[in-house]
Symmetry: C2
Subunit: 355 residues, 2 copies
């Protein structure tokens, strides 16, 4: 699929050397305006476009950014990739896109594939940023990358994310303020991921601060054609002492849980209040609307690209950048049923701790 027109074709047509053609194209050195004109005409007439391959062979760098995400089907990742694409394009780069389909084992292989394509750098969402051989390898080889959505423990790795713990802390606070006392924590896949850990941590801290007993995450598989979570949740939501609220580690999981609760004959929010995390559009449209944490997903994608270029071009060091989030109220989060009658909420949740 390559054009037959090379820099040599242009040089012949313009009656000069290939070096001059290269100089004109890249403005890498001054050229006489007369020759330049001839070259430009030749380029235009032949429809010449320099091969990125040839250039890359020399510079050892393609003008592409490698992307690894779990799945494009999740609107959260689709939005951040959209942000990356726009920002990359503004900088003359293209995305090489790959997805793990939520199989962390595929991360290493995909990264290798991308590196073999001599990408300028990588944008990754991995299962666990804190304990990850693939990232260690990239560090060792000095290959630039920025994590997105992941929240590494230390600034040793570049990342763009939100303060996950602060967000679930605020969300849990809202539930407690609404009178809930027994609040379950439901986690999707990647429950061992850094995000999930952080999110559970914020939940736990909020519960303990209110003198309530935090619960261990209930792990659910929110993907694929899994019939439903009803069976998995039946035990937890049986009996009088059942949770009156559930915090889900992400929005897609929350939607799925909402369906499962309905199957179990429980009404949201009358019997059980629900909240998610991410802020996907779907949550806004459903009825009742989903209470969640709104994250600036698209902006995170843009920011990740900006940060990657800062590392690439200005030699900036890695750091974790936390973007502001907002609590999004929703119909799925209501006052706790009877028994636990809330007084006036002791401390209303701060909508956005980080401005």
């Amino acid at each position: 699929m390559a054009r037959i027109v090379t820099i040599r074709t242009v040089a012949e047509r313009a009656g000069c050397s290939i070096a001059t053609v290269s100089r004109v194209i890249n403005r890498s050195a001054p050229t006489s305006s007369e020759v330049e004109a001839r070259v430009r005409t030749a380029v235009a007439e032949l429809g010449f476009r320099p091969s990125e391959i040839g250039r890359a062979l020399k510079t050892l760098r393609m003008r592409t950014l490698g992307v690894v995400i779990p799945s494009l089907t999740n609107p959260v990742f689709a939005a951040s990739v959209a942000g990356m694409e726009g920002e990359a394009r503004r900088r003359g780069h293209t995305l090489l896109l790959t997805a793990t389909d939520y199989e962390p084992g595929r991360e290493a292989e995909l990264v290798e594939t991308l590196v073999a394509q001599n990408v300028a750098g990588l944008l990754l969402t991995v299962a666990d940023a804190d304990h990850n051989p693939t990232l260690d390898l990239l560090d060792a080889e000095g290959i630039a990358y920025v994590l997105i959505h992941n929240e590494p423990a230390a600034d040793a790795r570049a990342a763009v994310c939100v303060d996950n713990a602060a967000a679930t802390h605020a969300l849990t606070g809202a539930m407690i303020a609404a009178g809930h006392r027994r609040i379950a924590y439901l986690a999707g896949r990647f429950s061992t991921s850094d995000r999930s850990r952080r999110r559970h941590e914020g939940y736990r801290a909020a519960m303990e601060a209110a003198g309530l007993a935090p619960e261990a995450p209930v792990e659910l598989d929110y993907l694929g054609d899994a019939p439903s979570h009803a069976a998995a949740l039946a035990g937890l939501f049986a009996g009088a002492g059942r949770p009156t609220a559930a915090l889900c580690s992400n929005d897609l999981l929350a939607l799925s849980v909402a369906g499962a609760l309905r199957e179990l004959g429980l009404a949201v929010p009358r019997d059980v209040s629900l909240a998610g995390f991410d802020g996907i559009a779907l949550g806004r449209a459903m009825n009742p609307s989903l209470a969640t944490v709104d994250t600036p997903t698209r902006r995170m994608g843009e920011r990740a690209v900006e940060m990657l270029f800062a590392m690439l071009e200005e030699g900036e060091g890695p750091r974790v950048e936390r973007l502001p989030f907002t609590l999004r109220p929703g119909g799925t989060l209501a006052a706790a049923p009877k028994r636990a009658v809330p007084r006036n909420p002791p401390s209303p949740p701060t909508p956005n701790p980080r401005g």
Copy 2:
């Protein structure tokens, strides 16, 4: 960001020539099992992975597929790209992803960028497939591509789509069967696109078949931060003779129109019935749920890649492949209000004309 390990490093370590290393790696010629073993050990120890650039310079083809879509933010395109990615990965290829942000003028530039990267082929969703200089150029240069979502008039261009006219015909039929007589047709951007034309055509045919007057498409800009369509629709939906139903050329537009109607004090579906096109998940979750045409978006992406490889490897010629769709009933499409009392629906809509 390239590794420092080249084929030469491996050759030194294995104590042989680079030609032999190449032969072992690609099994392009027989090698003694002893040397082969040494090479494989060296490759493993050094973590060597042959550069795609070097290979491509020789073969003039990278193992990448170029993708151009309007926007990843629309779940329809996100889903088809997800399908492409999976299928491409299964075939050892990666996607080079770009988006036009709904500016048809950008198509040419993006395609050029991708071609300059020596992609093996292209997967495109363009504004208008029937009248498109960029596609003409690709044809002229013999660069393989498959359109997706587009529905070209002739088989001269390879495409994977649904039968847009049949789908809107069926949908319009459902509205007529529900007693609607004045049905508006609302089109989003790309209203001059092949898809939009086909869809309007199906609507028109169904209206005429029922002895009703089809209306010209009302063009709306459903994108960006556009305040709302309320102003644009105020005239159309004023007065007693206003439409009792509206067909929107896609789901995202339908969601936006639903909001606008609400602003105008009109209830959906009590005052106005609504239907979309595509079958995005959002439509299912909203309340009332959106009546629409369900299209096998992900499968279309996979199929497009399959078709591209068939052209690339088996020299197959271009053809338009229409995948089956289904009518999805939804709460937004109800019986027409009072005045127009439907007798028993004359001809119930056929849910899926193409199986």
